[in-house]
Symmetry: C2
Subunit: 458 residues, 2 copies
């Protein structure tokens, strides 16, 4: 049979890498739960017409069809509605909030860690199936600003707890940007925002042209916008720099105050974890306050690994509007490159801490009893698959990184060997414990040749 090739865009891990991924997911979940976010999981599919309301990425949806669906009903879908795999966790969450509003307490805080799918052409760092970890806080009619500070701090805490290179949340505020553009006389502040979003792609001169052509700004005003976009500080110093540009608008004042609150609180609690970066635009139109992106040191080419923002209308049923703030960590986007680089690894490829040797098949029961005693105290244990020579049993453990091999004696105790050091001691399976660091596989950040960039504080 031909060798089985992987499917491009659908990453899969070996067990030792899945152990790393589970460690990351467990850490993320633990911190989300510490902050009182409730767990939620939505179905993987949504009706197609609901997903396409946010028209921007309709090309990327996978549509489902039953293989043997009856097609006699003509051109239309059989069951009356077509289903597609969700392409993010925000659209399903908004639908869920409307569907269950009567059963939820607001503000409703939820986390959601799930696969999403996008039918786009796989490129570097883009996948067709990938895992996201989202938190959102959604209110009914109103949502206090302080939650915009909160979600940034929760994600900064997640990054501090993960065995990854330094991740920096880069934060801006839509009111600040819009107020600045309006204060300069822009006729279309959304167009100005879209122009700034193109800075990486078309460069400063191209953006200046767009600002004049599309946003109704003068050449001098466009220059001010580019100066604004160049401001980045790891404390609240950005505010004075914005003021120096000499623009006035009430919305600008509010935006500066809000961004100062986010960056100031973060600076006080986790210096350097959150910086103001006034070029962050986020392409999507529906953000209305704070916006977040995240850059990973040494992996800047991945783009943002964690993004989100405030929206005044996450969902609406026509009578009630639900404002929200949320942020989404791209777990696969973060982990696949780190694992491929060997920048993060696990100490073994199995959960197993102890392999119990088997002297001969007639005494397999003796080994099983030892294993049961160890498991009863939370020690992951396997019994050797065959009564091979002990040397072979030890190699079976060694190849998978299992640190200890137990040799039972007929009375049910025996001795345990640390196969790394060769040390062997008499031990009782009812009381023996491994060193805490050996109990479970440990996940480590591997020293990396990447030089951290200079602190961007001016």
């Amino acid at each position: 049979m031909a060798k089985i090739a992987p499917l491009s865009g659908f990453p899969e891990f070996l067990p030792e890498h899945r152990i790393v991924e589970l460690h990351v997911l467990d850490t993320v979940r633990r911190i989300f739960e510490l902050h009182g976010f409730a767990p939620l999981e939505t179905r993987s599919v949504e009706p197609l017409e609901q997903m396409l309301r946010k028209g921007e990425i309709d090309k990327e949806v996978y549509v489902l069809r039953r293989l043997h669906a009856e097609e006699d009903a003509g051109a239309g879908p059989v069951a009356g509605q077509q289903l597609g795999l969700h392409f993010d966790l925000t659209v399903p969450f908004a639908r869920y909030v409307l569907q269950h509003a009567g059963q939820l307490e607001f503000p409703f805080r939820r986390y959601q860690i799930q696969k999403v799918w996008r039918g786009e052409r796989p490129q570097d760092g883009r996948y067709r199936e990938f895992t996201q970890a989202d938190i959102d806080i959604v209110g009914r009619e109103t949502l206090a600003f302080h939650h915009e500070v909160e979600v940034a701090l929760v994600m900064a805490e997640v990054f501090g707890a993960l065995p990854i290179p330094r991740a920096t949340l880069r934060v801006n505020n839509r009111k600040l940007a819009e107020g600045f553009f309006l204060g300069l006389g822009a006729t279309d502040s959304a167009a100005a925002l879209r122009a700034i979003d193109k800075l990486d792609k078309v460069g400063a001169a191209g953006v200046a042209d767009m600002l004049v052509r599309d946003a109704g700004l003068t050449a001098a005003a466009a220059e001010r916008c580019l100066e604004l976009a160049a401001i980045t500080t790891s404390d609240t110093g950005f505010a004075a720099q914005v003021r120096e540009l000499g623009v006035d608008h009430p919305l600008l004042d509010q935006g500066i105050d809000e961004l100062t609150a986010v960056v100031g609180a973060a600076h006080a609690r986790r210096p350097g974890a959150v910086v103001a970066d006034l070029r962050i635009a986020r392409g999507l139109d529906y953000y209305t306050g704070t916006v977040y992106e995240t850059v990973l040191d040494g992996y800047e080419n991945l783009g943002s690994i964690c993004s989100g923002g405030r929206y005044d209308a996450l969902a609406s049923d026509g009578r009630t509007t639900y404002p929200g703030v949320g942020i989404s960590l791209g777990v696969s986007r973060l982990l696949v490159p780190l694992l491929a680089d060997g920048a993060i690894d696990a100490s073994r490829s199995v959960p197993t801490c102890v392999l119990v040797a088997v002297a001969d098949e007639e005494h397999r029961d003796t080994s099983e009893r030892v294993a049961d005693l160890l498991r009863a105290r939370g020690i992951s244990t396997e019994v050797a698959p065959s009564a091979a020579k002990f040397g072979k049993q030890i190699r079976h453990a060694d190849r998978r990184g299992i640190p200890f091999v137990w040799f039972p004696d007929p009375v049910g105790t025996g001795s345990v060997k640390d196969i790394r050091s060769g040390d062997q001691v008499e031990a009782d399976p009812a009381t023996w414990s491994p060193p805490p660091e050996d109990l479970r596989p440990t996940v480590r950040s591997v020293a990396h040749a990447v030089t951290p960039p200079e602190e961007s504080h001016p």
Copy 2:
């Protein structure tokens, strides 16, 4: 806007039910890992032609199509192969083993907890999207019999640890059944097995007809087969009952020995958890040894909630054959009815143990500091979303089942109130801890009116 209806066949939970599901999934994972099963996750899609080899459920596959896929290439799929969502975790695992055989150590033990999809018409207890939790042990060329005992005991341990009604593994052996049919002179033992599998649907007389017509048995021999299928014992007593039927065949002897080993070991370690049930056939052809089904007390109408068996060729690349034994727990099939019945619930709808009250917005920082101190010691904590009257803040906690509300004072300590009892004590957030049972939501089996059936031991 019209009320949003749920999608039939795609179950979704409220947060308090998702907390129950996570507790179940965590328990299952913990026990799988205690027994040294390595974590694995495969992509959600497989090439359609690979999934359809096991033809039986080809009608149930969901095929993917990119919404805006170029259709100019004619009738065929654009990328050369059509993709479908996997309908179980066994087919993807078999593919994974072949793809990565060179990087795995055999026998390879893995667990896999994932969603699967089937495009069938949703009926009671059948879903279009559901979660399965599988363990498999796969060897290269050979796999020792004792693993057939092992997977049954691991699943019995899982059932013992879950807050659910009593689940009983019902076990049979293909060699026993086939040897019995051959010893009676059957010309087609597979047909005999398929006939026995129809016992529920067509009754004893119908099965007897099929045994005569399709399996080449006499009417008297068919009667023996029905007597065999009626045997069920919770210990190894089944063996003598089979012998009394007076059939002889070497394969029957081997099957009796193997089933005696499975049921005997289980009876010694967990009496009643695993029973011999000689009518268990499992429809699928590829099982070759032990087969497993599981019945939940009071929910017999669900059918088997956990099934599997031994296959001599889980996978083969033409040169090497990989025998395996596996068992699959239908997590959704088990949980959705229990949750709908209120037979299992969580003590609260959020992970939060403490809500820190806010006296006024100017002092939100004081409350945040209290929350940080509690979280630093693993206590899930939220700060009140608004500085409403304390009574309103307490109700906000109460409605979600949060047991404690903290009232900070300006020096950063304050007092903590158990809002269930009303007890309030001065406390320091750097040292106070809740009672252990309040730290996290607890998941409980709720007393149920179901009368356990009589023990089937004769």
